[in-house]
């Protein structure tokens, strides 16, 4: 098992796979939009000053934006 870290520390262009999501804090809407354990995501955009993060979800080919405040509860590994 690889080391996992918070999604928000990834830089633009980095690709990672979601390992765990803190279900107690992250709303189910995130799951509905395809942010699930096992999904591979690529950081596409980051708004300045810790603004939203734009993620490309690989298997569904969609671009989704989330806030840093939820990204810190999503753990990924490269």
């Amino acid at each position: 098992m690889q080391e996992s870290f918070r999604l928000d520390i990834l830089k633009v262009g980095e690709v990672a796979t979601i390992r765990t999501i803190d279900e107690a804090v992250v709303p189910s809407k995130f799951f509905e939009l395809g942010l699930l354990p096992g999904t591979t995501v690529e950081i596409k955009h980051k708004a300045p000053f810790s603004g939203p993060i734009g993620l490309h979800i690989h298997n569904s080919n969609t671009l989704v934006a989330i806030r840093k405040s939820e990204a810190i509860h999503i753990f990924v590994s490269k």
């Binding site: 279900e23 804090v25 992250v26 709303p27 189910s28 809407k29 995130f30 799951f31 509905e32 939009l33 395809g34 942010l35 699930l36 354990p37 096992g38 596409k44 955009h45 980051k46 708004a47 300045p48 000053f49 810790s50 603004g51 939203p52 734009g54 490309h56 298997n59 569904s60 080919n61 969609t62 671009l63 989704v64 934006a65 989330i66 806030r67 405040s69 939820e70």
Partner: protein
């Protein structure tokens, strides 16, 4: 027999609305769902000898609602006694993301609904790098799969023929799993008549508005007993379904490189760039408002001229008397006051719906969220706030897609501070009166003041949001997740229907009130409670025996107004508005414009021209009014009624005060609470009073 009801169900951004427009050929009406103001798009379709009712449900990802719009979807599909419970659900998908659409389709089928599956935007299959095995997909979904392209009408005929499809019973689907066996066993006692999945749906919903309080409480108690939350159950289903559907469709859908997204990526490199992105956004904003004003000005001038001509013509045709006055000064002037706003509203919504259609609006949310969050707002608040520059009514309605209750409430409470189109005529008239037409460091002073008033609106909205954020408690944690759809060329049909919906809601919603107020005002100003009004000439001549000619006429006119119903109301509130630097005539303007701000200008015109023969053909109506207002003396101070101090005070009053019955009505409908509605009105008008008071007392 009632018409079969066909409901369109789908994720956002799948082109569902385009499809709806194609199917109904624009035979549609936009109304509201009973009791709440989620837009209800309903249309009819005649095909052969049958008529179908088509309902366009709001876009949703699953049947678990997180916003009002999504709640409608669940209520329509899960409640068999719902008026729009469909005979057939058409699940609309787009080729890029079939998994999410399949999940929605399965949920609908397992709830016991008849459904067919449509892949819209089929022309993009190749561009999106996909290959779909339709035969396999049909047997997997246990229904016919149709393909359409709503933009060019491809496949629509075939789809309409399928409206009599009833695919029958659906087998298989969601396996709840052993972890939840006990809670499900107990839940069956609550819903003895339902299938297993229906029961599961009810147990996994936060709150079900169509069930009794007892049942809701029972569900709540059941979950509490098992130490589960609705969110736990929802996530469980969503994760399971995603996994299964992804696995099952592996052999059905094959993917190569997505060319579409590549193009979107290239555009986003610029539009979401930390620096250029904001430059582009502010340029777009700047051009939007430039366009709104420059494009609408000639049209508004044209309407103004023609209405004046029409009023003048009507008054020459009709015999003199109260009926003629009612028609020209009450009715026609009122209609003119509504029509004049149409160009601005239409152009604003043209640009807003273009931003929505192309997919740029989500980018705005992405760019702006960081800057609005500190004020307790959400990136999605940008849309209501920006639309508030047009009219607060549609703007407040557009706050619906904000999931978080508190952020939605905050957005609705502060949006009316934004400088709406109705404030503009007041600003223009007042600035023309009290701000000198000079330049300061090469900048026109009048234009500068107007700009400052717009900035003031934004500042007031943000500061009050910040303050309210500290006071109002949140029910849910704030979160934000939204899709950035790939860029598309706009579907003009959608743009045009959207403009029509918004403009007509202004004409028939706010317009009604404006018209009614104009007529009421005319009546109040044309009649008085005692003989001082009817016998004005006698009283005036008795008091001033030496007056004659034009001076006498003027004196009589103002005496009449003073003793009309309107005059008595104005004088009644004079003590209240005197500290702000207003006289009773301006008081009348304030009272009447409580209905709608734009009424102020019309009222002032009525107040100052009642009993006078305004020769419109001889001079422009506005100039007449301006010069009339300039010469007006405040009888309390002996100074011109519109001097710098009272003018600035009045400008500030209108910048802050909740002077709009349509907005109040909308807020009541949207918040569902009189408490918040009254709070907002009192807060805004209170702030307005304080600022106007300070301004007048320091400047006088």
């Amino acid at each position: 027999m009632t018409n079969p009801i066909i409901a369109l169900l789908g994720n956002p951004n799948v082109g569902k609305t385009s499809l709806f427009n194609r199917i109904t050929k624009l035979h549609q009406k936009v109304g509201n769902y009973p009791g709440i103001t989620v837009e209800k798009r309903e249309g009819t379709l005649k095909s052969g000898n049958k008529t179908y009712t088509i309902v366009d449900l709001p876009g949703t990802y699953t049947l678990f609602p997180t916003s009002l719009d999504e709640e409608i979807v669940f209520n329509t599909l899960a409640d068999k006694s719902n008026k729009f419970y469909p005979d057939l659900v058409v699940v609309v998908a787009e080729p890029n993301n079939l998994t999410r659409s399949i999940i929605l389709y399965q949920q609908a089928r397992e709830l016991g609904l008849q459904a067919i599956f449509v892949i819209n935007m089929i022309d993009e299959v190749a561009a999106k790098g996909l290959d779909i095995d339709y035969n396999k997909l049909e047997s997997y979904l246990q229904c016919h799969v149709y393909t359409t392209d709503a933009r060019n009408g491809k496949g629509i005929k075939e789809l309409i023929r399928a409206f009599d499809d009833r695919p029958g019973t659906y087998t298989g689907g969601f396996n709840i799993g052993s972890d939840y066996a006990t809670i499900m066993e107990e839940a069956k006692g609550l819903f003895p008549l339902l299938t297993e999945y229906q029961t599961w749906q009810f147990v996994a919903q936060d709150k079900i508005s169509f069930l009794s309080k007892e049942l809701n409480d029972a569900i709540l108690a059941l979950r509490a007993k098992h130490q589960l939350t609705a969110s736990n159950l929802q996530k469980h289903e969503v994760v399971r379904r995603h996994k299964t559907v992804d696995k099952n469709t592996e052999a059905i859908i094959s993917k190569i490189e997505n060319k579409h997204l590549t193009k979107t990526n290239v555009i986003d490199k610029y539009l979401l760039h930390p620096v250029f992105g904001y430059i582009v956004f502010f340029l777009i904003l700047f051009f939007t408002f430039q366009l709104v004003f420059t494009l609408s000005t000639p049209i508004m001038d044209w309407i103004d001229e023609n209405f004046s001509a029409l009023i003048a013509y009507t008054s020459t045709v009709l015999p003199d008397g109260p009926i003629s006055d009612l028609i020209t000064q009450g009715l026609l002037a009122g209609i003119g006051g509504i029509v004049i706003f149409i160009p601005q509203i239409a152009i604003l919504f043209l640009l807003v719906s273009l931003m929505e259609e192309t997919g740029y609006m989500s980018r705005v949310v992405f760019l702006m969220d960081r800057w609005l969050r500190p004020y307790g707002l959400n990136g999605k608040s940008v849309i209501p706030l920006i639309s508030g520059i047009g009219c607060a009514v549609p703007a407040i309605m557009s706050a619906r897609n904000i999931e978080n209750t508190k952020e939605r409430l905050l957005t609705m409470l502060v949006t009316p501070f934004m400088t709406c189109a109705a404030r503009l005529p007041i600003y223009i008239v007042l600035i023309g009166l009290v701000i000198p037409d000079e330049t300061f460091m090469g900048i026109g002073l009048q234009g500068l003041v107007l700009t400052l008033l717009y900035v003031l609106g934004v500042v007031a909205a943000l500061v009050s949001a910040w303050g309210l954020n500290l006071v109002i408690k949140s029910e849910h944690k704030s979160f934000l997740i939204f899709e950035l759809p790939s860029y598309k060329t706009p579907d003009w049909k959608n743009v045009i229907t959207n403009i029509w919906d918004k403009t007509s809601s202004f004409i028939f919603g706010a317009g009604k009130i404006i018209l009614a107020m104009s007529v009421i005002l005319w009546v109040l100003g044309s009649f008085g409670p005692n003989d001082k009004f009817s016998e004005a000439q006698k009283y005036v001549q008795q008091a001033n025996p030496i007056l004659e000619g034009a001076h006498l006429e003027e004196k009589i006119a103002s005496f009449k107004l003073e003793h009309s119903f309107l005059g008595y109301i104005g004088m009644g509130i004079e003590p209240l508005v005197e500290p702000l630097g207003y006289d009773w005539k301006m008081g009348i303007g304030l009272v009447s414009s409580f209905a709608a701000r734009e009424v102020f200008v019309a009222t002032m015109a009525t107040v100052y021209s009642l009993g006078e023969n305004v020769d419109i053909e001889d001079e422009g109506q506005r100039e007449t009014l301006l010069s009339r207002m300039r010469s007006e003396i405040n009888r309390n101070t002996g100074l011109p009624a519109y001097n710098l101090a009272s003018g600035v005070s009045l400008l500030l009053f209108y910048a802050f005060a909740m002077q709009c019955m349509s907005t109040i009505a909308t807020v009541k409908r949207e918040t569902g609470s009189w408490k918040w509605t009254i709070f907002q009105t009192v807060m805004m008008t209170g702030v307005a009073y304080i600022f106007a008071f300070i301004a007048y007392q320091t400047l006088k």
